[in-house]
């Protein structure tokens, strides 16, 4: 029996030290270097290696910390007696923290390796010291968010996280789009934090302390009105960070603007901090006795986020924006698990709630791996072609075989196809919802079938979207010179993607081990263990409730492989040796096709654009310049725009109202000192006259 507390403490210190070293050391390095002048690129290279090396070591230590907490069940607790800023605070890493810390560290490690190669792009023209400082600070603040055991410390690291990401989004600051995205992000983040402050102050007024220990299980002592206000504040505050619809507007702007290794972290783990906060507050603080409508509200948010997220993703031709919208979709899927767990808790079916919560948290882990993988793949494409527009790519599978393969693995995983990990968590969510059919409550009778149907729709649309994303980007022939001259990414980048692809397979084929790790956590949060409910043996998941349901992803994998082999063998036996004919991809029998004759992303998504025209409100603009004769048209411009309902009907009116109100107030702002003094004077005299 190892000494868990000792391991945890050491791992924690190593993690903090690694991030601090990786962030600060380059600063000293550049000072020392100044007295020993050599090439700037050489300095940048060593800064890069030290910075990302520190992050890598720290992330591995984070993995160790997370694993030891999860395996032993012993929480890491460090009291910080009296700090200058916050008074006494505490660091507390329990199972819930450990799951999210594990997700952070598990993604941060390969992303750090990836960055070794990816950041070489920035070497000649960028401030590498700033990059590694922000990168390490970002990771440290995220780790801080999940292990903070004190509200003030939590808010501090939460804001650090927002500020570091603000600068990271702004890293390529010559681009006005990046500056706009960063500003939008920081505005939304601050609005979110304001709600979190309200929430913590409300909790404090009833607990008398800011430590999370005192908040635990406070729900039963709160008046129901206050409880609901706290719940709503948590949804808005954490929801903005998580990117739920309609608070998502920053997300599709910010993710593409940031460098790809950062986008992978933002999408893979940062938005999960919102989920962490929600689970902590809903189950840790306010639970376990919750009103029914909370679960229903979360399910509504979850369903609209996932369906609208994937629908908007389908219309995107910017690879990273497309992935950003998929993050919204997946947050929706995760929240389906969380919402179902809340609903089942409210209705008293705790075992089912535990399954739903496990499913949601499992999807957090899965989304981190495959979305991290996909963003790294997109970064690899960007690195090779300097283009994010998939209409300009094509044929990359021949130039970037490894990147293409790993991207395909990620695409299959995010589409929820077996045997990869996306399938398992979505299956678990489906199962927990389907078992809910047995309940007689009216809300459940309405909410559950709708959720199930829309989750199925989401899965199908996501698959369609990734057929588009993968097909147009990697298959066919190159649509631009950049795509033609693309080159494979360096080993550091492909190996990082390979590692994540391996994780996608492992978490898909061996779900039992992940579920058994998450099970005690669910037991701790919901009050009942799912063990005995979800039986795990040899990779088979069984849920014996009412009619039992079981699945074995490992066996499914074998079956799939076997099924692929059957037609090949049958064909061989029937027709003899396979005949081979080499032709151009998608040439449709023609001898030669030009790149512009290929299927386009816009064309591919047209049927869906037609079906959901109410949501997209697409506008076509065709401009034909007729110079000589109507039969020879030198220029035809075609523009297709889809509009965001939320921007037009929610944010624009809000924006107009704020500006309008400011204009009204501005009238009394003459800029004349005497006028201001006169306001004070008149107010004073009137008060003296009437308020004696």
């Amino acid at each position: 029996m190892p000494d868990w507390t000792w391991i945890e403490t050491q791992a924690f210190s190593l993690m903090v030290a690694g991030y601090v070293f990786g962030g600060i050391a380059p600063l000293f390095l550049s000072i020392i270097w100044r007295s020993n002048p050599q090439s700037r690129a050489g300095l940048n290279r060593s800064i890069k290696n030290i910075g990302f090396g520190g992050a890598l070591i720290a992330s591995l230590a984070g993995c160790v910390l997370s694993l030891s907490v999860l395996l032993s069940g012993i929480s890491l607790h460090v009291e910080i007696p009296e700090t200058l800023l916050f008074g006494p605070t505490a660091i507390h890493a329990d199972r819930l923290s450990a799951v999210f810390l594990g997700v952070i560290a598990l993604l941060a490690a390969p992303v750090s390796v990836y960055s070794f190669g990816y950041a070489t792009d920035f070497l000649p023209r960028r401030n590498m010291g700033l990059m590694v400082f922000l990168y390490n600070a970002f990771l440290l603040s995220m780790a801080g968010v999940v292990v903070a055991g004190h509200a003030v410390l939590f808010l501090f690291v939460w804001e650090c996280m927002s500020v570091t990401t603000f600068f990271l989004i702004n890293y390529e600051h010559e681009d006005p789009a990046a500056r706009r995205a960063a500003f939008l992000y920081v505005t939304m983040a601050h609005i979110g934090t304001a709600f979190l402050v309200i929430m913590f102050v409300l909790l404090w007024t009833f607990s008398g302390s800011y430590s999370f220990d005192s908040f635990a299980g406070i729900g039963s002592r709160l008046p129901s009105g206050v409880r609901s206000v706290i719940f709503l504040c948590a949804i808005i505050g954490f929801g903005i960070k998580a990117g739920i619809i309609p608070l998502h507007i920053w997300l599709p702007e910010a993710h593409p603007a940031a460098p790809s290794n950062i986008s992978a972290l933002m999408s893979g783990v940062m938005i999960k901090m919102g989920i962490y906060g929600m689970v902590r507050v809903f189950f840790g603080f306010l639970g376990p006795d919750v009103p029914e409508w909370w679960g229903i509200l979360i399910l509504i948010i979850a369903v609209s986020s996932s369906v609208l997220g994937v629908l908007y993703a389908l219309m995107e031709h910017d690879l990273k924006r497309l992935l950003a919208f998929h993050s919204i979709e997946n947050i929706g899927i995760i929240l389906m698990g969380v919402g179902a767990a809340l609903l089942f808790t409210a209705l008293g079916n705790k075992p089912l709630a535990a399954i739903a919560l496990i499913a949601g948290l499992y999807h957090v882990l899965n989304h981190a791996t495959f979305k991290g993988l996909l963003f790294l793949g997109a970064g690899s494409v960007l690195h090779a072609t300097h283009s994010r527009n998939i209409e300009e790519l094509g044929g990359l599978i021949k130039k970037l075989p490894w990147t293409s393969f790993f991207f395909l693995v990620g695409a299959v995983a995010i589409s929820g196809l077996p045997p990869l990990n996306g399938f398992v968590s979505e299956w678990l969510i489906f199962q927990s919802l389907l078992f809910g059919f047995h309940m007689s409550a009216l809300a459940v009778k309405i909410a559950i079938p709708l959720t199930v149907a829309l989750l199925a729709l989401t899965g199908a649309l996501a698959a369609a979207c990734f057929v588009k994303a993968f097909g147009i980007t990697f298959l066919g022939i190159a649509r631009s010179k950049a795509a033609e001259q693309a080159h494979e990414a360096p080993l550091s980048m492909t190996s990082a993607m390979g590692f994540l692809a391996l994780l996608c397979v492992l978490f898909g084929v061996l779900p039992g081990s992940v579920v058994s790790v998450l099970d005690p956590l669910a037991a701790f949060l919901v009050g009942t263990s799912a063990a005995g409910q979800v039986t795990l043996n040899a990779g088979t998941l069984t849920i014996p409730q009412g009619t039992s349901s079981s699945i074995s992803p490992a066996m499914l994998t074998g079956l799939l492989l076997a099924l692929t082999a059957i037609p090949l063998i049958a064909g061989y036996l029937y027709a003899g040796a396979l005949r081979r004919r080499v032709a151009m991809t998608w040439a449709c029998g023609l001898q030669e096709i030009a790149p512009r004759m290929q299927y386009t992303a816009t064309g591919f998504s047209k049927p869906i654009r037609m079906i959901f025209s109410n949501i997209y409100r697409a506008r076509h603009e065709i401009e034909i310049s007729e110079e000589t004769s109507p039969y020879f048209q030198p220029n035809i411009t075609y523009e297709l725009k889809t509009e965001s309902v939320f921007l037009k009907y929610l944010y624009e009116p809000l924006y107009k109202f704020v500006i309008g109100a400011a204009m009204v107030v501005r009238r009394i702002q003459t800029g004349h000192i005497q006028t201001y003094l006169a306001y004070i004077f008149i107010t004073l005299v009137l008060l003296l006259l009437f308020a004696r």
């Binding site: 702002q669 003459t670 800029g671 004349h672 000192i673 005497q674 003094l677 006169a678 004070i680 004077f681 004073l684 005299v685 003296l688 006259l689 004696r692």
Partner: protein
């Protein structure tokens, strides 16, 4: 101390308070910046006198220090500083009005009446032992209002400073009248504050003059855009 003496001191305080009010009115009606500053010095001198009388008549020794500080800082140091500022920026002449002298004086008269009625309602229950000191309260409130009025209606940056100082004198006087002065540490703090404020404002006036070639704060309006 016997009653006759108390009455004499009370009478003297009344006369000094009236003199302070008169200087305030003179400031309102004055047209020259240099005269403004001299009037302020005189007002501060009278204020110091009231403080001295309170200290002697009611045996509040710590007010003695406050009285000397009033005379040293407000009646001597600040006027000297301000006079120097005027000399350096060569604006001896007119004060700009946005409300003319006649109307200003009438309004200030109204303010004194308002201040008196407010003071009566504040004292209210204590009317029975209306000592000379508490009668001064209405003067102090009037001073605050007049100071604010000067700041509102006069346009030169220096007149703003004098307005502010007049208000401050009013605050000091009300402190004296209600509680026989605030604790010494507070008084010393305020004096220090005021001195520094005047120094900084003096620098500001100088800079404003340099930037806009005028100390009329109308020009600051252009900063709005």
């Amino acid at each position: 101390m016997d009653t006759a003496n108390i009455q004499t001191i009370g009478l003297l305080i009344d006369i000094f308070a009236a003199a302070i009010l008169v200087t305030a009115f003179l400031i309102v009606s004055s047209r020259s910046l240099a005269f403004y500053i001299r009037l302020f010095a005189l007002q501060s001198l009278f204020l110091g006198g009231v403080a001295l009388l309170v200290a002697v008549g009611y045996g509040e020794t710590h007010i003695l220090i406050a009285a000397f500080l009033t005379i040293a800082i407000k009646a001597i140091a600040i006027p000297v500083v301000l006079t120097r500022v005027i000399e350096r920026i060569h604006v001896q002449k007119e004060v700009d009005f946005s409300v003319n002298v006649t109307v200003s004086l009438l309004l200030c008269g109204g303010m004194v009446i308002l201040a008196d009625s407010v003071a009566q309602s504040i004292l209210g229950a204590r009317q029975a032992d209306a000592t000379a000191v508490s009668r001064v309260l209405s003067v102090s409130i009037a001073m605050m209002l007049i100071g604010l009025f000067i700041m509102t209606t006069r346009k030169k940056a220096l007149t703003q400073i004098v307005g502010l100082l007049t208000m401050e004198n009013g605050v000091f006087l009300s402190g004296l009248s209600i509680t026989y002065g605030m604790p010494l540490i507070v008084e010393v703090g305020i004096f220090f504050d005021i001195l520094i404020a005047v120094l900084i404002l003096g620098v500001f006036v100088f800079r404003i003059n340099k930037t806009f070639e005028s100390i009329s704060i109308d020009s600051l309006r252009s900063l709005r855009h």
